[in-house]
């Protein structure tokens, strides 16, 4: 019988062989899109800044200094200070942490719920499918912003409430994508072979079907992050998201609601506006590039 050496030889052979797996071909396709690669690096810089600026900054986000209030950008305060003398450069990146963190958490939670329910609906079909998809329909006909505002005002407007609310309201679209894919995949002959081999349902769903759906989910999730940043921003802007004194990009930009600020203190709101713009733009470009890489047929 073949020994373990053959096994290990085989397993190591996996790395040095010219094995182009599905994911590496996607990656290759993605790298051809220069704009997407630039976006990726811009986003990387933003994320790294959000992580490290608050750590190395000499100021904290809540530290006030009434002597130095409303200063324009200078060497000491790169993006100036606000009306109670807090350093806006630090606050911008602390806000970025929260905005990005919340978006990632929302999309992650949304994907978990959506994938799970979409897979169950697509795989079992019939009554289970009907039930789950009708529930999804119900969630889809809620007026999004109004429900968000209602829930956030009933419960406290902490990050957890916000994350759960946004995720629970947005899982149906991902469930639909997953279900549609699985409906077509489960008719393929390799699924019938699974039946003939007696492979268990859970393995069939999570080992056979899900990897075939993941590419689409990742594309959707990438675009979803951009959307969630905007939603979170609008909620914070409306005062329904995270509240002062914790900064987010949304409530930093809220300063522009005051006409005097809009007119005279541009450094209160321009940096956060630019940050939101850049981040959302980058996620969208990356999402588009991923979609083209996953399914070349969808390209124009």
């Amino acid at each position: 019988m073949t020994s373990n050496t053959t096994v290990s030889k085989c397993l190591t052979g996996r790395k040095d062989k010219q094995v182009e797996s599905f994911w590496s071909s996607i990656f290759k396709q993605f790298r051809k899109n220069k704009l997407a690669v630039v976006s990726f690096y811009v986003l990387l810089v933003i994320i790294l800044a959000c992580i490290f600026v608050p750590i190395f900054s000499p100021y904290t986000m809540e530290q006030t200094n009434m002597q130095e209030k409303s200063l324009p950008p200078s060497a000491a305060h790169w993006f100036g200070t606000d009306d109670i003398g807090r350093d806006l450069f630090t606050r911008l990146f602390v806000g970025g942490r929260i905005s990005l963190g919340i978006s990632l958490a929302v999309v992650a939670l949304e994907c978990v719920i959506g994938i799970l329910l979409g897979t169950l609906a697509g795989y079992y079909g019939g009554f289970v499918d009907g039930l789950i998809m009708r529930i999804a329909d119900i969630f889809l006909c809620f007026p999004f912003l109004i429900i968000c505002i209602t829930i956030v005002s009933i419960f406290s407007s902490g990050p957890v409430t916000l994350i759960v609310t946004l995720a629970v309201l947005s899982w149906p679209s991902i469930a639909r994508i997953v279900r549609a894919q699985i409906l077509s995949l489960r008719e393929l002959e390799y699924m019938e072979a699974c039946e003939a081999l007696g492979i268990s349902d859970s393995r069939r769903m999570f080992r056979h079907l899900l990897p075939n759906v993941m590419a689409y989910v990742i594309v959707y999730a990438t675009l979803g992050i951009a959307g969630t940043i905007l939603t979170e921003t609008s909620l914070s802007f409306l005062g329904m998201g995270i509240r002062f004194p914790i900064p987010t990009w949304g409530n930093l930009i809220q300063a522009a609601r005051n006409p005097a600020v809009l007119d005279k203190y541009w450094w209160y709101w321009v940096p956060s506006g630019v940050a939101i713009f850049l981040t959302v733009m980058c996620w969208n470009i990356i999402g588009d590039a991923l979609r083209d890489a996953v399914d070349p047929k969808m390209k124009r």
């Binding site: 073949t2 053959t6 096994v7 085989c10 002959e189 007696g198």
Partner: protein, 339 residues
């Protein structure tokens, strides 16, 4: 089956199997009619033998193969595997039976999951049924079987898209055989391959069958392939098994006009035969299985059809030992000369 000696053990017995697919329509999705894919089919396969099923597209060959393995539910009838009705088995017993009955599909592209490496495709069922204790034992078994199927051990960790069609079909064969099954349904296994690869795969199947004592239900529309590999042959037309017998009986003395027509349509390089044989050219297409013709289903295209054929459905008669035909001519109710 009282005289079943050990030598002639009946491995699979299909008894009056019926499979109808409902067609739903209208406002309330009510059943409007049925596609009669398999209609009252009966046959037996002895252990170690190969039964070839031939017929044109849409005659129910594939449905028969899938229903026999309980991959789709039956409408009526019984399928006995070693005297156990597979449709009566509970979930646990069925899982055990699954290891004994396997299928190899037609299309080697859609029958392998593109996201799984070959070792997992072949080995997962071993793990699922607890036939191996750990991963390295699984790899040993996988490497063993892929070598037997003509692949190399270092190919075990590659993905399906790195293989050619013939190699993929070898993977499919390895996947089916790794569980040590006793019965394998080969559903048009070589039809999607080109001719030179076909012969390799056919030889591999034959070799494995002799080596491991396998029993095949070999579904194909290619008469020469069926002739090469089968011991018994069944001819299907519109969901019915119209003729069934030993290979020589079917190929040398066909009794059903449809079998004769099929045989005469097969290309041959035997020029002596070409000169002597008369071609029977069938008129028209195969009728719809939703609404099969009355009486004998073949009467709309049969060159010998008479009035009786459109009225009365012919019985399944044994014309010589082991040779069964569904035709009024065989039962002597009408004669061929009458036309």
């Amino acid at each position: 089956m009282s005289d079943t000696a050990t030598k002639h053990e009946v491995l699979l017995r299909v008894d009056d199997l019926v499979k109808h697919f409902p067609i739903r329509g209208g406002l309330f999705k009510q059943v409007k009619s049925h596609v009669r894919a398999v209609d009252h089919v009966s046959f037996e396969i002895e252990r170690g033998k190969v039964l070839g099923i031939v017929g044109e597209s849409g005659c129910g060959k594939t449905t028969l193969g899938r229903t026999v393995l309980r991959l789709t539910p039956r409408t009526a009838g019984k399928v006995f595997f070693k005297d156990k009705d597979i449709f009566e088995q509970g979930k646990g017993n069925l899982l055990k039976l699954r290891t004994k009955m396997q299928i190899i599909f037609q299309d080697p592209y859609s029958s392998l999951n593109p996201r799984l490496p070959v070792n997992e495709i072949i080995g997962e069922a071993l793990v699922q049924h607890g036939m191996v204790k750990n991963k390295s034992e699984m790899m040993d078994r996988v490497i063993d079987i892929i070598e037997k199927c003509g692949l190399f051990p270092e190919q075990a960790c590659r993905y399906p898209h790195q293989f050619s069609g013939g190699q993929r079909q070898r993977i499919c064969i390895a996947r089916a055989l790794v569980l040590n099954p006793e019965f394998v349904v080969c559903d048009e296994t070589v039809s999607a391959l080109d001719v030179s690869i076909q012969s390799q795969i056919i030889n591999l199947l034959k070799e494995m069958q002799e080596h491991l004592g396998l029993t095949y239900l070999f579904i194909s529309h290619d008469l020469s392939v069926v002739r090469f590999i089968s011991d018994q042959v069944g001819v299907m037309y519109l969901g019915e098994l119209v003729e069934y017998g030993e290979k020589n009986q079917i190929f040398n003395t066909p009794r059903h006009p449809y079998t004769e027509a099929l045989l005469s349509a097969a290309p041959t390089f035997d020029f002596a035969e070409l000169r002597t044989r008369k071609r029977i050219i069938l008129k028209g297409d195969i009728p719809s299985p939703v609404n099969p013709p009355s009486g004998c289903r073949f009467h709309t295209r049969c060159p010998f059809a008479q009035e009786l054929c459109s009225i009365e459905s012919p019985e399944d008669i044994e014309v010589e030992p082991g040779h069964r035909v569904r035709c009024h001519m065989a039962s002597g109710k009408i004669s061929a000369s009458g036309h």
